[in-house]
């Protein structure tokens, strides 16, 4: 009996593994198509490009994964990226002596403040996450405009050491990609092994049950939003380094890259299911497709359309699969109960 139930749970786990495998296959297919169609696709230089554009999305997507796991969503990350990128780059342009780590610290601090604000709105203010972060998406963006006063931070205002940073490589991997990989590994480890990381899954699976089990739900959700904000801040720093310049509209629409990476990567919008690895695969798939479209001179707006359809498809598939598995589990349980009753009657 236990064995039967266990095997079904294994099936469920396998289904989610299959989900990541599906994305990996889609990724390989996309790579194969572009490799054949666009001659400059499989070059070292191009993959360096892809890795850097994945890096910024991935760093932010790790935080978004945590938020979505708790059955919430953070729409404001694009604006947080813009705000932290502008404030940190603007500070650097007037204080050239600032070390790189200092610039990153400023950006992360700005992000944490924004994330904390979102988290408090959702937990203490009880504003639904979608509405709260829709509001702060516009509020933070307005703040960028207010802070910038219509000006930009241009490349020549930034010290050479900062511009060199984005070009630096570790073992042939761009520094920005190294940061993103570190963030992803750390994030995955925390979700896997820390008790608060497991709490995220518990909260997303069933908030009420999590509360009754003694999990401090509000504190965990607040933590998820704060981490998401902080990583969006880090993303802002990486954004500024990558483009060596920031304008008031930098990072607008970026939330779509992040959310579609997370959702396509199998992080369930109902909460409770998903991994950083999936989100990373999703981010890679989007970056590869964007890059391939550019090389093939396909209008970039097809990418937006593709992302949207991919989100809807992923959500539909996830919902249908989850429902099928739940139904199977329920039937199995019913059959077991019937068998047990029959065995008792015959005994």
């Amino acid at each position: 009996m236990t064995a039967a139930r266990l095997s079904l749970q294994t099936v469920a786990t396998a289904a989610f593994r299959l989900r990541e495998l599906g994305i990996a296959i889609a990724l390989l297919v996309a790579i194969a198509i572009f490799a054949v169609q666009a001659e400059s696709f499989m070059t070292v230089g191009n993959w360096r490009n892809i890795s850097v554009s994945v890096a910024v999305v991935l760093a932010v997507a790790v935080g978004q994964t945590m938020v979505v796991l708790t059955r919430n969503i953070d729409l404001s990350v694009g604006s947080i990226v813009g705000l932290s990128a502008f404030i940190s780059a603007d500070t650097l342009s007037t204080h050239h002596g600032l070390p790189i780590a200092g610039v990153a610290a400023i950006a992360v601090a700005v992000g944490i403040a924004c994330g904390l604000f979102n988290g408090l709105l959702v937990t203490v203010g009880r504003v639904p996450a979608i509405i709260a972060t829709l509001g702060t998406l516009y509020i933070f963006r307005g703040l960028v405009h207010e802070v910038s006063g219509g000006t930009q931070v241009l490349a020549f205002e930034l010290p050479a050491s900062f511009k060199a940073f984005a070009l630096r490589e570790v073992l042939g991997i761009p520094a920005l990609a190294v940061i993103a990989i570190a963030v992803a590994v750390l994030g995955a480890a925390m979700l896997r092994w820390t008790h608060w990381g497991r709490d995220f899954y518990a909260i997303g699976s069933n908030p009420e049950a999590a509360r009754l089990a003694g999990i401090p739900v509000a504190r965990r959700v607040l933590l998820a939003f704060t981490i998401s904000g902080g990583l969006a801040g880090l993303g802002g720093f990486m954004f500024a380094a990558r483009f060596a310049g920031v304008s008031a509209s930098s990072g607008s629409g970026f939330e779509f890259d992040v959310i579609s990476a997370v959702v396509i990567g199998g992080v369930n919008v109902f909460g409770g299911v998903g991994t950083v690895l999936g989100a990373a695969l999703g981010a890679l798939l989007i970056a590869v497709i964007e890059n391939g479209f550019t090389l093939l001179k396909i209008n970039e707006f097809w990418k937006t359309a593709f992302q949207g359809f991919a989100i809807v498809t992923a959500v539909t598939v996830d919902a249908l699969v989850t429902r099928r598995i739940q139904e199977a589990l329920r039937q199995r349980r019913r059959r077991e109960a019937r068998d047990a009753a029959r065995a008792e009657a015959s005994a």
């Binding site: 509405i131 209008n299 359309a305």
Partner: protein
């Protein structure tokens, strides 16, 4: 007599709509300090013109939110409808026939949302987030990239710009008023309207009472798409151009209008009069801030704060009212959904009856 008069007065004052009227007057008073032309009858009527498309979308969204769902794809639906209409016209179709086709396109896109949400029972937030991106991409694809279609006949552009006949009422405003009246009648005066409230209050109970829940839910999303398309046509008429990036920052104003209008974000309550007044409030505020030379993005800080403030105030008042029955602390929307959904738990009567973990349990 006087006692009942006072009671009536008290009931009026206690209504959210009354607060909105006060806010509009306050915003208007501030605006007069910014420009002495503000109080011109002409200006007062004209200041609504650029916000009619917001109002039309807000009416459709109000229906969706009262039914306990959300539709954030409307601004993209607006763009697709406007661009599709312009494309039909550009290919030589009659302008009014193109308008009709544009409306059909918008309604179709809304119906797609509705089928995914109503029939497949997917979460409206995730679906419309996806279609928000998908439809925006579609708009660009129809136009074949950037660019714009312009040069509409004046018969069409006067819809958004000119006054009705020889009066001083702008046609756009008249259309908005008419749409408001229709929505108020449908929501407050028909069986369909009662269904919408019932579904928003408790979907499962609505289903058990024989309400065709699925059909109503698909319909409200189709209506939301239709209103977005109507908004798209007025947008194209007012700006005399159809672009794929049309209204891409209008979502805040629409959602703010619905929430400020007193529609419960968790579904089940709200009035069309409130939504109408909230649209007027936003128009007066934006107009006044424009007169004060505040940029659009910075204006959004104010509108965004109003949106969040309205929900926070609502939650505070509700928390004060039922302090002892207050449910958990987060994600009411999901918990309500669980209750309404298949899990079929009993209604919320017990929440928080001392089942909270004792201090230090974890």
């Amino acid at each position: 007599m006087t006692a009942s008069a006072i009671a009536v007065a008290r009931r009026v004052v206690a209504r959210w709509e009354f607060v909105l009227v006060l806010l509009i007057l306050a915003a208007g008073t501030w605006s007069t300090t910014q420009s002495r032309f503000f109080l011109d009858t002409e200006n007062l009527l004209d200041l609504m013109k650029p916000y009619v498309f917001i109002g039309l979308m807000a009416l459709g969204l109000a229906l969706v939110v009262i039914a306990g769902e959300i539709d954030i794809s409307i601004t993209s639906t607006l763009a697709v409808s406007a661009v599709a209409f312009a494309d039909f016209w550009d290919r030589g179709l009659n302008i009014w026939l193109s308008c009709l086709l544009g409306l059909v396109v918008g309604m179709g896109l809304g119906a797609v949302n509705g089928v995914l949400i109503g029939l497949l029972d997917l979460p409206s937030l995730a679906v419309t987030l996806g279609t928000l991106a998908a439809y925006r991409g579609l708009a660009f694809v129809i136009l074949g990239g950037g660019g714009a279609i312009t040069g509409f006949p004046s018969d069409f552009t006067r819809l958004g710009l000119r006054d009705l006949g020889s009066t001083i009422v702008p046609i756009g405003l008249a259309l908005f008023l008419a749409a408001t009246a229709v929505f108020a009648f449908v929501l407050h005066g028909t069986l369909f309207g009662r269904y919408v409230y019932a579904i928003g209050s408790n979907r499962e109970a609505a289903r058990f009472s024989g309400i065709p829940v699925d059909r109503v839910r698909v319909t409200i999303f189709a209506i939301s798409g239709l209103m977005a398309a109507a908004a798209g046509l007025l947008y194209a008429s007012y700006f005399a151009t159809a672009r794929a990036d049309a209204a891409n920052v209008a979502l805040l104003d629409v959602v703010a209008a619905v929430v400020l209008g007193g529609v419960n974000i968790f579904g089940g309550s709200g009035t069309i009069v409130g939504v109408f007044l909230a649209v007027v409030l936003i128009a007066v505020l934006r107009n006044g801030m424009g007169l004060a030379n505040i940029s659009g993005e910075v204006q959004s800080i104010v509108i965004g704060s109003l949106l969040l403030g309205a929900i926070l105030v609502g939650n505070l008042m509700r928390a004060a009212r039922d302090r002892h029955t207050g449910q958990g602390f987060l994600m009411r929307i999901h918990e309500r959904r669980l209750q309404r959904g298949k899990h079929n738990r009993p209604p919320r009567t017990r929440p928080g009856l001392g089942i909270r973990p004792t201090k230090g349990a974890r």
